[in-house]
Amino acid sequence: MPFEWIAAVRFLREGRMQSLLIIVGVGVGVAVIVFMSALLSGLQANLIKRTLSSQAHITLLPPEEIARPQQATDATALRLQKQAQRLRAIDQWQTLRDRLETWPEIAAVSPVASGPAFAVRGEANKAITVVGIEPERYNRVISLAERLTAGQLRVGAGEAVIGIELAKDLGAEVGDKLRLSAADGRSDTLTITGLFDLGNKGVNARNVYVGLRTAQSLLDLVGGVSSIDLALHDLDLAEQLARRIAGETGLTADSWIKTNAQFVTALTSQRVSSNVIRFFIALSVAFGIASVLVVSVIQRGKEIGILRAMGATQAQMRRIFLLQGGIVGFFGSLLGSALAWSFLMLWQLLARNPDGTPMFVIGVEPGLVALAAGGASLVGILSALLPARRAAQLDPVVAIRG
């Protein structure tokens, strides 16, 4: 072990009470930071997961139509209206699907044919959205299969999966028949094969999942799809990627970040305010370390003078005190991580849903502990800069005489 390490460790060990107190101080600061980070990221991940449980990360739609001139005749106005009513399809969607599947950022691609219709059962009649899917692909974007409360995810010819809310409205169960009628008198009678709960009341009341072909014929979209849903590996890249896809394909690409702008802003400001809090905790920890080391430099003035008389250089003296700061920070962060882990366990024990399941699962990730250890050691070294400078510049003559 180099001389500086030996001296730093001996000095810390000799001033046992002081070192212990400051390590505990650092530990409490680190614990709060780690606990807060874990709680916040757990909370946010949970909120995002809930939001995205019924939403694709990016949805591709046909390009927006260019606005027509204002002075239109009645005849063109009528034609326009008809055109708007008709569902627009994405050109060459198979080629596009295959191309997007090769992108490394994209985890799953799911073509969807969806449009408005009415669900009729006995006297009941509800406005719904027919969503035609390829179930394996769709399931990789929105995990429908996991969200079934009854039946199976089966959408072959003549089969449909509906939300629990719609099932309640219609008084229907798995195995019952359901008639869907769309524009221009097209209609189809389907058997309910499954019920889902995507955690969103509107979606549970509105979406009726059917096979892609069934939807295409109901919606007069033969061979076409009205949108393509994408799942990404990295949620945060959604907006960037959506722009890129829009630029390359000419389609409209809506990312979850854009469609949930308010929610995302709320998350961001939550993160910013927690960063501010973390910064000030780190600052007060740094001042704590610095003040203890400043006192230690004064107390050890005589020893510093002796070491200088023995041939220790200013740089060596500086390093001895920088190391003490780093060591205090490092051990403080270990203590803090252990404390944070206990808080989190306790929190998970206490914060529970009414049914007794944990409200959401959070843990101290090893990465976060490593970051805390590295960060606290660095903060320790930085806060030791000033005391170390004082130690290096101490006049040995004065130190020895005093």
Binding site: M1, I6, E303, L307, R308, A309, G311, Q314, V397, I400
Partner: protein, 236 residues
Amino acid sequence: MADTNDRVLHLAGIRKSYGSGEVESKVLHGIDLTLQRGEFAALIGPSGSGKSTLLNLIGLLDRPTSGQLHIDGEDSGQLDDTGLTRLRGQRIGFVFQHHHLIPAFTAEENVAMPLLVARGRPDSEMFERAGHLLDQVGLADRKQHLANRLSGGQQQRVAIARALVTNPSLVLADEPTGNLDTHSADDVFALLREFNRRQHTTFLIVTHDPRLAARCDRIIELVDGRIVADQAVASA
């Protein structure tokens, strides 16, 4: 006579003042002094005459206001702080009045400290040397004791071992026996004398004790920052 290669210490026109302008206080007024290798010299004088100030300058712990200071032929005026520190570490050993040891370390580690500081890492050779010196100062059974567990006389003997561990050219001792009872003082002084005889190490010892000064080879007397007497002692 001895040629210049045997000059361990050479001072010419050394002045030292503290402060500047109206509050300037002049402590040393032009000191010329040469010590040959192997000399055992006492520096005496009334309190406040500048003895400690002079020793700190010679020990390169402080810089003179003007004048030349050579250690083993090396001009200290040409060196920066790092250079002075290196020269001090290699050529000079200190024994202070208040037996300044570092309490967090054992006796053996305190003795090895100048070598540890210079080499940067501990090695077995430095502890062997430290152990050997502790044997010579009669502390063979106290090597692993923490410094502050030793008596005053024992601590001062550890400090002497430490001053000698680097085989310095010059050992500076500022009232090394000032804090000790007569018996311990005699022991410590005898020890210094023994190392001087055996290894031809040069010693400059500040003392208030005329009895001990008389046992040196040479007595240099400082009054009000000037050398007023410098004479050899007729060997008894």
